[in-house]
Symmetry: C3
Subunit: 348 residues, 3 copies
């Protein structure tokens, strides 16, 4: 158990932590979940305030953080960017509408004990990595831990919840086939953060990770490399395929969801190309998780999704509401997993 190294640390990406540190935070979350189930009060973050700063909509993230910190004796200030002066990177300030990011980070650090941020999509003009860069800049300026509530590269809280859910359902990931798959949706405006973080956690424990997507929907090479490095060190395997059926065969975990093409997102030298995205999407409408493809998986396989889901597109109701689905357990684990993270990094 690695604790001291975690005190006061930012929680921005799974890959910022050792396997042992991830396990420590996960174990803390499990312990808090069990106390919660037994009705044992645990005001271990009494009088502590976290700030929830949202540049994008949220149901699970906001409510799991606000409820979770309250169970630990703390309080969440829910901040939307229209209610505060929007923090801006140097050179992008507008007098009396925005405020320099460093000023916001420093001031909030003086009042509360952690700053949680969600930023992605429209707020950074869909330039891939810009939100992640913003997150790191904010963390560098803040003197309290910054917790990533999802940016355009990482969603580590989802990763922790996904890991907790897989362990609860499968016992161990060792030797299990874990499939992260693209799926079609009419909505292209989504980040790639969830599959990235799912790869990062599932590659740490000896699983056979299979990454399935149509050509054009490859993930960030750095994230792929991180997963491959993990399996090289901790066992299991990592393979990619563009055959959804092949991937689902004998799977223990399937996690089909939509994400956009990174190539056609915005980049420092070019704007996001929605037309090219549409073309790629339209060519792959058959990537849907239905009962037929679920029959290829193992009998006790679990169907996962971070929600919100685009029912009838990413998945049929029969699967989403069927016996393999663990979506609500997974949503619940957001709270317990995050409580575990906060209890370790905000304490001591």
């Amino acid at each position: 158990m690695q604790v001291k190294s975690l005190r006061g640390k930012d929680f921005i990406a799974i890959s910022d932590f050792t396997k042992e540190e991830i396990v420590t935070m996960l174990d803390a979350g499990k312990a808090l979940k069990l106390e919660n189930a037994r009705g044992v009060p645990h005001h271990i973050l009494q009088d502590k305030t976290i700030f929830l700063m949202f540049y994008a909509k949220s149901l699970r993230t906001r409510n799991s953080f606000e409820t979770g910190i309250f169970q630990m004796g703390g309080h969440a200030n829910f901040l939307t960017t229209d209610a505060v002066y929007t923090p801006a990177m140097p050179g992008k300030e507008q007098a009396y509408a925005t405020e320099r990011l460093e000023d916001v980070a420093n001031v909030l650090s003086r009042y509360g004990e952690a700053i949680c941020i969600r930023i992605l999509g429209d707020s950074v003009d869909w330039v891939y990595g810009a939100a992640s860069e913003y997150m790191r800049a904010f963390a560098a300026a803040a003197s309290v831990p910054v917790i990533n509530m999802e940016d355009d590269v990482y969603h580590p809280c989802q990763g922790m919840a996904d890991l907790m859910t897989m362990e609860e359902k499968l016992g161990t990931l060792e030797g299990k086939k874990v499939v992260i798959s693209w799926a079609y949706s009419p909505s292209r405006k989504k980040p790639v953060s969830v599959p990235h973080s799912m790869m990062a956690v599932s590659s740490l424990f000896g699983a056979h990770v299979v990454f399935a997507r149509p050509k054009g929907f490859e993930l960030d090479p750095r994230q792929i490399k991180h997963a491959k490095d993990n399996v090289a060190r901790y066992g299991g395997s990592f393979t990619e395929t563009d055959d959804m059926k092949e991937a689902f065969k004998d799977a223990d975990v399937v996690y089909p969801k939509c994400w956009p093409s990174i190539e056609f997102l915005g980049h420092p030298d070019k704007e996001v190309d929605w037309k090219a995205q549409d073309k790629l999407f339209d060519a792959n409408k058959d990537w849907i998780c239905d009962e037929k493809i679920m029959k290829l998986t193992n009998r006790d396989s679990i169907y996962m999704h971070c929600l919100p889901m685009d029912r009838s597109f990413e998945v049929t109701d029969a699967v989403a509401d069927g016996p393999h689905s663990v979506i609500y357990d997974q949503a619940e684990n957001r709270m317990h997993a995050q409580n575990g993270v906060m209890s370790i990094i905000m304490n001591g």
Copy 2:
């Protein structure tokens, strides 16, 4: 006192409960009010979170719930529909803007201990009963109690507060003349929920309930029937009239307020007809509660209103701020009455 049957139950309409159950929740509210007055802490819902989901503006409802749950040791997450993915009925989802109602209800049920909803008016295109149907669907999907913070048919929390206020001021409702009256306002965009819930509570205790309105402003026949069934069982009487003065004569309680014509609201087969509403309203501008008409009531009569009031239209300032008015006591009782409800249904 009926308690066990109330644990975990939804609180959607007064008519969902027996008289004994209503009295149990009312008594709980009175006990909490007295403790509050004496400064006795009562953290009986410690660590419990309620979600306040608003599809419409609110002053009293939001603040009475948020303050009330806090006094009981709990916390309210205030949710407006622009800050979360809006829950949608099956078939009405829009990818990444809405989320299926069942998913929202299930996820929130995993985090907190009750879900409070206000929905009416524009959010259901003024189709009468659509908001109420939504409320029932949400409650069916949720695994924690759903509390109705007002829909387009019922406002049971207001009903409980009105009952508490009448009992405080009159001692007993037995034999008292209770007048629910229409009143004019330039604003037609209001629900009929308040008079419905007022009828439901005032018909349980032997009062002579008089329902006064111009022709065209009749209430829902099912709600009228419920009130008549009550007086048949518990004593008192229920009469209707289109003569405001006749109604006010010798009244102990008057509750004049504006509501629209149900006939000209939207219905599954036709749209809301604002022109017809306007015509009906304009023909009845003389339905105002002023000092002259108040002189017809009993000397100790009370003037009630749920607020917000349209001063100079529904009522003159002289009455609203005069000796008969109990509007602020009534507003305060929202909190105590709701605390009573929550303390019973969310406990055990």
Copy 3:
């Protein structure tokens, strides 16, 4: 120490209080700050709710109040005017969109223990003093303390924080040169409340207060008179100048910030004149606080700003982030100073 006279009192302007009362509240804030630093819980406002009603954006004010009251065991309901029926002065109500101020004030008084209001600028059409009048009307109607979170004349919470910061950095204000200076910004839409409240506190303790501004940016004569009365009674001096350099020479405290011309704000008989404002502003772009002018000040001088600051205009980054700057300490003291105020007026 003057305590009893402060119980239940509104906190609207520094000039509403005696010097002794100001010191009492300041001392309470210092004590709470030290307890906070030592990790001593102080739930002295347990179960108490404050309402934060904002007619304008806020970062520091909202978060310092919400975090501060929580540390004292209480809770803040964060209210924006789009989420509630906007309170309106008599005669300015709109049915179902606004609600009479008296009704809002009375109802909130029934639920919670204090009402905090920020109102200025657009919400009163930039008519100078209209927001302050609104604040006083709200306080007259409310039966709990009203706390001014900034109006268009006063910002007493900022004044208390500024006083706490100066005392911490300088030990005493006696004999110190305290410079309140205008500075240029491309944004004219700001109130004059901060320099007013800074004058009010710095004139109480024997300092030499210097007020520097270009012609046209004079402050409210009543506020100037109040400062002059203070120095006549408590020692020190008060002088005005239109020479920024002269003012900065040998200064111990400099507080350069932008505010508009009061003359060209709106008044009961004429509208705000933004063109005249622009002309005045454009003629004074050289009023900037840079390292060169800071060299004129004493070696241990402090640079203050209430934030948000318009970097590159009011001040250069080199000064704002340099060795004289105390801006983040000052922002932090907002919370401690306000806690001191609340702990005294809301208790007992």
